[in-house]
């Protein structure tokens, strides 16, 4: 075991997760390596210090008060207040987008119908040899009415 693997094993050693052989190797290295021993003492020392944080004792009537609370009605928490406006705005945005898409689709459908009518009128005019009508229809297609 080298210093790197020893220091990587600090947590396992602290939590007694090393097997007997590993533990012996660990302890032997710590006893002989000043650098690792310093690191280990700081690491383990801080962890041991935590144990000095005292526990608190439950108050005398804790159990009774807990039992009394069983009879209290269950509190159903409302959704966080900030969520309601966000939901509303999200719903509104969805409606606007849906209407917009529907409207755009409708507009394109209308344009498609109009184009079909103009093509039809161009064809009719061509068949009848009516150049003015053809020109007017083509103007509509290319000029005034951008389809």
């Amino acid at each position: 075991m080298n210093c790197r693997s020893i220091q990587a094993g600090f947590d396992e050693r602290l939590d007694n997760r090393l097997n007997a052989t590993q533990q012996q190797e660990f302890d032997t290295h710590i006893a002989t390596c000043a650098k690792c021993r310093r690191e280990w003492e700081a690491y383990a020392g801080a962890w041991q210090t935590l144990a000095r944080h005292e526990a608190i004792e439950p108050s005398f009537s804790f159990v009774q008060r807990s039992l009394r609370r069983l009879n209290e009605p269950e509190v159903v928490t409302a959704p966080a207040r900030w969520r309601l406006p966000v939901l509303r705005w999200a719903l509104l945005a969805t409606v606007v987008v849906a209407v917009g898409l529907g409207g755009w689709d409708g507009w394109r459908h209308y344009q498609g119908l109009k184009r079909a009518q103009i093509y039809a009128s161009v064809q009719d005019a061509t068949l009848l040899g009516d150049d003015f009508d053809v020109i007017a229809s083509l103007d509509q297609l290319e000029g005034g009415n951008k389809l």
Partner: protein, 183 residues
């Protein structure tokens, strides 16, 4: 737990008596306030009673219990962050459970200087644990004070065992630096 599931209040009383100290202290160490710890602990036990039908004996009871405790603590942190309110007791003497009328375990310190040093250490540890990020703090408390294994902590935190190792490692690195001088 089978009897609690059937609505037996005596069985529920036994559960509370057996686990009250652990639950209250996990919450106290997480929140730093003894009054709120007792209040939240009571709500946890009520939740245990109401959720008894969902408990499956395949999991260790304490693991299931601490999962409820952990969720309650997370919710409390979120609530505090939203309202940024503090209890009057915490304002009066932050972190001092005696000011909140809660009993401390017996201190062995005899003279005033030792008592002051002892209080300072308690406050320092409380502050350091409180400063750890949520999952690290829970992992430390469950490992150090409740003796849960990595596998049990992983179940409570809903993460992998390697994630628990990583959480503990990072927390210990922080504590090693912050508690220098106290060990």
């Amino acid at each position: 737990m089978q009897r609690v599931r059937d609505g037996n209040e005596d069985a529920f009383r036994e559960v509370v008596e057996r686990h009250q100290r652990a639950v209250i202290n996990v919450i106290y160490r997480s929140l730093g306030d003894a009054w709120e710890a007792e209040d939240l602990a009571q709500r946890v036990f009520v939740q245990v009673y109401r959720s008894a039908a969902r408990y499956r004996p395949t999991a260790k009871f304490t693991t299931w219990l601490f999962t409820i405790v952990h969720n309650a603590i997370l919710n409390e942190h979120r609530r505090r962050a939203r309202h940024a309110a503090e209890s009057l007791e915490a304002l009066a003497e932050p972190g001092n459970p005696e000011a909140a009328g809660v009993q401390l375990a017996d201190s062995t310190a005899a003279d005033p200087a030792q008592e002051a040093a002892h209080r300072e250490l308690q406050e320092r540890i409380r502050e350091m644990i409180g400063r750890l990020p949520d999952p690290q703090r829970t992992a430390v408390i469950l490992c150090r004070y409740e003796g849960l294994s990595y596998e049990e902590i992983a179940q409570v935190l809903r993460c992998s065992v390697s994630a628990v190792k990583s959480l503990l490692h990072r927390a210990r690195q922080t504590l090693k630096d912050e508690l220098r001088g106290y060990y």
